[in-house]
């Protein structure tokens, strides 16, 4: 835990919104690494003290364990205080806001601060997905989601993007572009000192696809919002895990947006 906690950097050209999200990501990253560190410390001490062999280390086991548990408790208290500072998006955290198709944030009708809403919504989709999978060693960068959204939005603006599409994209083409933008943004990063980091970081492509698919699925499901959200993320996760070869081929094709749109159309027909 002696290494630096914060790896996210504020880009050279930034806006007020960037600073806000960079601070949020920074605070979250500190919390995330502290929590993971505390968890590992408790685990490590417990393992060591179970080997009570009558030596000095063994006799020290009980007070050492108590000290570590107290430290972990203090960290948790500090953590809860930090959550209060960051909890303006509590409704997303509590899964109280129904998931919507990701494409709706990029439609002409969605006029009220769509990128901010897209960013919050997708940040929490990622976090809920990781939690459902039981993956705790990956950090979700909210600012990178915002940047992906901004880049995608500018692709629709003829003033900013002369090569803007002549014909409007279909819903699945747009979804495919969102997936590719999130994939390129490397939204997930492994926790510091995580041995299995390399393995887990492969989830970037998978998670980008899942969070967008879940937005298409949730409105088709019944039940309370929380249940819909969990089920949509679970179904998307299962589909992406069990049909991985097909979407990986689509992403690697020379026209990934078209191939991915076709794959999503197919999968949604049978989900």
């Amino acid at each position: 835990m002696s290494r630096k906690f914060l790896r996210s950097k504020v880009p050279a050209s930034f806006s007020d919104g960037d600073i806000g999200l960079a601070m949020k990501d920074g605070l979250r990253e500190i919390r995330f690494n502290l929590k993971r560190g505390a968890h590992k410390l408790v685990e490590g001490v417990q393992t060591a003290t179970h080997r009570d062999d009558g030596t000095a280390r063994g006799r020290l086991g009980e007070p050492l364990g108590l000290a570590v548990r107290t430290t972990a408790q203090l960290l948790r208290t500090a953590d809860h205080a930090a959550v209060d500072l960051l909890s303006s998006d509590g409704h997303y955290r509590a899964m109280e806001i129904p998931l919507c198709p990701s494409a709706t944030y990029f439609s002409a009708e969605h006029a009220i601060d769509p990128i901010r809403l897209f960013t919050r919504d997708h940040h929490w989709r990622y976090r809920h997905l990781l939690s459902l999978r039981g993956t705790h060693d990956l950090f979700v960068y909210e600012q990178r989601i915002e940047r992906a959204g901004q880049q995608l939005r500018s692709a629709f603006d003829p003033a900013k993007a002369p090569a803007a599409p002549a014909e409007p994209w279909s819903r699945q083409q747009l979804n495919a572009r969102i997936v590719l933008a999130l994939q390129a943004a490397d939204v997930l990063t492994p926790a510091i000192d995580t041995p299995e980091a390399g393995e887990e970081s492969g989830l970037n492509d998978h998670a980008a696809l899942c969070v967008v698919l879940a937005g298409e699925l949730a409105p088709l499901l019944s039940g309370p919002v929380r249940q819909q959200t969990e089920m949509a993320l679970r179904l998307a996760d299962e589909a992406c895990s069990t049909h991985q070869a097909a979407w990986a081929r689509a992403m690697a094709s020379p026209t990934p947006d078209t191939a991915l749109a076709a794959w999503m159309t197919f999968v949604l027909r049978y989900l």
């Binding site: 179904l235 299962e238 589909a239 069990t242 049909h243 097909a246 197919f266 027909r269 049978y270 989900l271």
Partner: protein
Amino acid sequence: MLDIRTAQHWAASPDSLAQIRTWRWFREAVPSVVSDLAVRISTAEQPATEAVVEVLPLGRAFWAWVSVLDGLRRYEPLEPEDYAHFASGVLLVYLLRERPLHWPGASRSQEVLVLTQTAMTLLSAWRTTLGASALSDQIVEVNDAQWSSYIENITENADVAVAYLDFFTGREPRWQLPLILTERPLFARALAERHATAARS
């Protein structure tokens, strides 16, 4: 050879023909019937409580199955009943390939029996939805030699499970190219008639 009560339950859903081809339905329904069928053939020495259906191989089987059906959707209205037999056979092929049933100590024959009965249960529900006669009346009694030959052949090439399922359910099996729908006698005939009609008009 099949779970009639489950098949009736599946067929009772108002949208069952579309529903049985969705992962949402499949991931719940198929493990449940597989477990029930395993219980039926379990013994005191080999209880079915040990039998588990694993999601990953089940999902791989499902997506491979619907990928095949997706490319053949336009043929379904030509011979809906024969299409149901073919589709159930293709499902059996992928269940046999992916082997989602994890049942420690069970023989290959027991595992294949459960998966075959699962495909037949789905076929029975599909036929009921179409208003076809009960599948239980069509099922052929299989002797030990035929069953052994089935196990041997599907171990070599799972594709022939389509032909075997036709054989078990009283249809004319097509041993060559069993995964080609348009080579099935009823479909070949229907397509020839369609071409002849088109040529006349």
